[in-house]
């Protein structure tokens, strides 16, 4: 790159735009100064390596950078926002069962203290690719997160895929030219996740879908994967002399600039080369090679080729030792590809291994059996430098210390101001049947069966609590429970694990509380299936607009603080996470931004999967209890949106109380006192009772006098606040249940009935009397009708 070291600032900016590096001026000048010191201009490959290594996608420079936050007038300084919030909570909690956190491709926890197995969990976003090519974007998102699990430690076996999406409302309306409609994005993403997961033979089970105007041009696609691995394979270490081996698909021009692309806003001219198409069958071959080679100990380290391709993967593995690579040895799709393109290409389904020379023969043999391409690219040489050749031509020669430690840090300003609370509700009345029907048909509440049935959640044979349960298989579950015996081979060991998610629109009002709501929902969902929540591990996936806007960053920082505080109070550490910025679009000069969005994924062991429970009512005459006090507030609720309430009231989270209730309830579930449990979330109490009634039995509930004093009927029926669980107690064990729950917040609210109607009374008057079949029909068919 001629004249780079002599370039003026304005010329650097021009070069940055021309080559699509997404670097800012401070970073460009840092790079220029480095090459001035070396006394030569950089090569294209060197600048591409720096651009991708320093991208937001790879270095998370906003979250890991200094932030000066004005929080409701109070000044708070962070030198590293991520370390002082998310990581700080994990460090303080110091849970011994967290085996590897924040340093590998995924977080790893013990399955149980005595088990030889560990669980790896990772969730990623693939938002920008899905906005422009939903099918390919979703496929490669799933492929990428599966490779994270294959490349964590010495490789874990993927046993569950998760999918959480945010789309614009489905209205079948034309939108701005150059953008896809939410319908197209929705269908493409679902098909992509389906095809990749199903073809890989990994169940896709836990997930959620959320719709909001703010996602119309910027959909969010969170894809996750859980893997299981022996505890003694949790750590990797590259050794000097190890061979750099690439296995998997050939390298082409696909996805050049994927890392830098996700560090920029989307506009009508976003580069088409950032689109990648996945090939699940190739990845399955890679998986099979890793499982065999890993069990034979044929490599010292492994990682996946994600954003940045070879550049990122080989650069990371060789960070401590240094590495010498000849990319002419790479297997190519197309011989016209330039050397720098080979180096940064994001072709899918590729993994990098550090293989001792004595073991390369056996690895080649396995690859041949599995029909998986393999090539040797170089050696981890102990030079502490990144040296890349194309034959005899040197195309990269960078100090690892500069590449990984040279990124300049600069403080960003953030401002957060809480909203004033208003709570104007419609006049109370005594018939809420129509409201319940409308809520059940709402796109954020109605059944996801249309999507879920496209996924194979039975493959591998380990799923215990499924997405739909009950005799009629139509009651949705709060969390998924997996029994990993097909992997462990131990049929007499009934240890398993549960996975759930939390996502809240409360961030439209208060992002600090949103973090509590999301974490609470995820943990509460685990409680509802019988997981051991004392060993809950969390993942955080933040998405927001351009963080250079101080208000965007303020909302983000408040949520990060909320995550820290909630994690400490719930005693649940974060083990991994990801942030995705620049989720905004510029159309005809107008900016369309997403609201700050936070997906919390949670995983916890289930001591005995035979004791796991589901949410449908099981037996007539069983007493129904509400665990937890009413958390009243219709802010950001479905009711509020549908019935034009002027309310932004959010219940104040009380984690200490909640966790006391959850622990007591977990014990009651373990003892077998509870027949069904369901959290109160979207649509509130009335919706939760309706869903629990969708199988064989319904309910008759009287909210009683105490509830009348607490709040308006609308708040009682439709609040979506934290901490509330409805449980069906085994009538014969009610006394034991009450004894076990002493000190917890519980109230008996009704009983299970063998009828076709759901009845709810409030202050002595019947406010809901609805036919279950009708409600079920509305709930089941609404999503399909909108597509």
């Amino acid at each position: 790159m001629e004249n780079f070291i002599k370039a003026q600032d304005k010329d650097l900016i021009k070069l940055n735009e021309k080559f699509g590096w997404s670097l800012n001026l401070a970073e460009l000048t840092k790079a220029r100064d480095y090459f001035i010191k070396l006394g030569h201009n950089p090569t294209r490959a060197e600048m591409e390596t720096i651009a991708q290594t320093w991208s937001e996608h790879c270095k998370h420079k906003t979250f890991s950078g200094p932030v000066s936050l004005n929080y409701n007038g109070k000044k708070i300084k962070f030198s590293n926002l991520f370390k002082e919030t998310i990581v700080a909570a994990t460090k303080k909690l110091n849970k011994k069962w967290c085996l590897s956190v924040f340093k590998d491709n995924a977080g790893i926890i013990e399955l149980s203290p005595n088990s030889p197995w560990a669980l790896a969990f990772k969730a990623e976003t693939h938002n920008h690719p899905c906005a422009i090519a939903p099918y390919g974007g979703a496929e490669t998102g799933v492929g990428g997160v599966i490779r994270d699990i294959l490349g964590v430690g010495l490789g874990a076996k993927p046993v569950l895929n998760t999918d959480n999406f945010c789309f614009g409302p489905l209205r079948n309306k034309k939108i701005s030219s150059g953008f896809l409609t939410p319908e197209k994005i929705f269908e493409g993403v679902v098909e992509g996740v389906r095809d990749y997961g199903n073809r890989m033979g990994i169940p896709t089970a836990a997930g959620s879908i959320h719709f909001d105007e703010s996602y119309t041009f910027n959909p969010l696609v969170y894809v996750g994967c859980v893997g299981i691995m022996p505890k003694d394979k949790v750590f990797k270490k590259v050794k000097k002399g190890d061979i750099v081996v690439a296995i998997g698909g050939p390298t082409g021009r696909d996805g050049i600039h994927g890392a830098t692309f996700s560090s920029a806003d989307i506009d009508e001219n976003s580069a088409s080369s950032a689109v990648q198409i996945g090939h699940a069958v190739n990845e399955k071959k890679v998986l099979d090679v890793i499982m065999k080679a890993g069990s034979l100990g044929l490599y010292d380290a492994i990682t996946d080729c994600g954003a940045g391709g070879f550049s990122s993967a080989i650069g990371e593995l060789g960070e401590e030792t240094g590495v010498h690579v000849d990319i002419k040895k790479a297997i190519l799709k197309d011989n016209s590809i330039k050397p720098w393109e080979i180096w940064v290409s994001e072709s899918q389904e590729r993994m990098i291994m550090a293989v001792p020379p004595s073991k390369i023969g056996k690895l080649r043999e396995i690859c041949s059996i599995e029909e998986c391409p393999i090539c040797e690219l170089g050696v981890f040489d102990g030079s502490r430098k990144l040296k890349v050749f194309y034959g005899d031509e040197k195309i990269v020669d960078l100090d690892m210390s500069f590449l990984h430690g040279g990124l300049p840090k600069f403080e960003k300003k953030a401002v957060y101001k809480s909203q004033k609370v208003v709570n104007k509700l419609p006049t109370p009345k005594y018939d809420y049947n129509k409201e319940l029907e409308k809520i059940l048909s709402d796109i954020n509440v109605c059944s996801r069966e249309y999507v879920i049935r496209q996924y194979d959640h039975e493959v591998q044979g380990g799923i215990v609590v499924k997405p739909f349960n009950g005799v009629k298989k139509q009651t949705p579950s709060d969390a998924i429970v997996i029994w990993p015996y097909p992997i462990t081979g131990k049929k007499n060991n009934f240890e398993g694990f549960a996975v759930s998610h939390g996502f809240s629109f409360a961030g439209k009002i208060d992002t600090y509380k949103m973090a509590f709501y999301a974490i609470d929902e995820a943990i509460r969902s685990l409680v509802c299936v019988g997981a051991d929540i004392s060993r809950t591990a969390l993942l955080d996936n933040f998405c927001c607009a351009n963080p250079n806007d101080k208000y965007v960053l303020g909302a983000f920082a408040a949520a990060a603080i909320g995550c820290r505080d909630a994690a400490l109070l719930y005693e649940s550490p974060f083990i991994s996470g990801k942030d995705s910025f620049y989720n905004q679009s510029s159309i005809n000069g107008k900016e369309y931004r997403i609201d700050l969005s936070l997906l919390i994924s949670a995983i916890a062991p289930v001591k005995d999967i035979r004791k796991a429970i589901t949410c449908e009512f099981k037996r007539a005459c069983s007493p129904i209890y509400l665990v937890g006090e009413f958390a009243l507030g219709l802010g950001a609720s479905v009711y509020s949106r549908l019935f034009s309430c002027k309310s932004n009231k959010l219940a104040e989270p009380q984690p200490k109380k909640y966790i006391r209730n959850y622990k007591a309830l977990s014990k009651a579930i373990e003892k077998g006192y509870i027949l069904a449990a369901h959290d109160i979330s979207k649509g509130g109490l009335a919706t939760a009772l309706a869903k629990m009634s969708f199988d064989e039995f319904s309910c008759e509930v009287d909210m009683g006098g105490s509830a009348c004093e607490r709040g308006d009927i609308q708040e009682i029926l439709f609040s979506e606040g934290p901490g509330m669980i409805i449980v069906e107690v085994d009538a014969e064990k009610e006394k034991d249940f009450l004894k076990m729950m002493s000190g917890a917040d519980i109230a008996r609210i009704g009983k299970v009935v063998d009828e076709e109607v759901i009845r709810v009374k409030h202050c002595g008057k019947e406010v809901i009397n609805a036919d279950i079949e009708k409600l079920l029909g509305i709930w089941k068919n609404s999503l399909g009708e909108k597509i």
Binding site: I132, A133, P134, Y135, G136, N172, K174, L180, T181, K184, G188, G252, R253, D254, S272, V275, Q276, I277, G278, H279, V281
Partner: protein, 146 residues
């Protein structure tokens, strides 16, 4: 050689219902709609081999039929093709190549996959627009009416 594989009429009701539901939001004049899978096969094959490949490898003879020597015959419909643009990875075509070879035929020189839509009640311009708006992603797809 362009091969079209399509659902037999007696099994095609759901397919048609889905297409009409999607397209008629924007184009209420649409009267009827059908679709086919397209395989553009390049290789040295005899005519009977093409028919064998179409019948044995590319279609399910219970619910599907094929047309290998000329486009599917549907009168009164506007035909629109949707194919990947040059340079876009076509994963399905790679599987098709492998499947043809595994079935004992010579390996194709190349295979391209795509879809053909048949829309009744719309002229070529509107039919093309309808497919672009409802199914295609113009970043990766090329859409053209016959």
């Amino acid at each position: 050689m362009k091969i079209e594989v399509f659902t037999k009429d007696k099994f095609a009701k759901n397919e048609e219902k889905k297409l009409i539901k999607k397209i008629s939001h924007f184009y209420p004049n649409l009267k009827s709609a059908r679709e086919s899978k397209l395989y553009i096969l390049e290789g040295h094959y005899r005519r009977e081999e093409i028919f064998q490949i179409s019948g044995d490898v590319l279609s399910d003879f219970i619910v599907e039929e094929f047309s290998a020597d000329s486009p599917r015959k549907l009168s009164g419909y506007t035909r629109v093709e949707m194919l990947f643009k040059e340079g876009v990875t076509d994963v399905l075509s790679q599987s098709v190549c492998q499947a043809i070879e595994l079935a004992g035929f010579p390996k194709p020189i190349s295979v391209k996959t795509g879809q053909a839509f048949y829309l009744a009640g719309l002229n070529a311009r509107d039919a093309c627009k309808a497919i672009k708006e409802c199914f295609a992603n113009e970043l990766i797809h090329l859409v053209k009416a016959d």
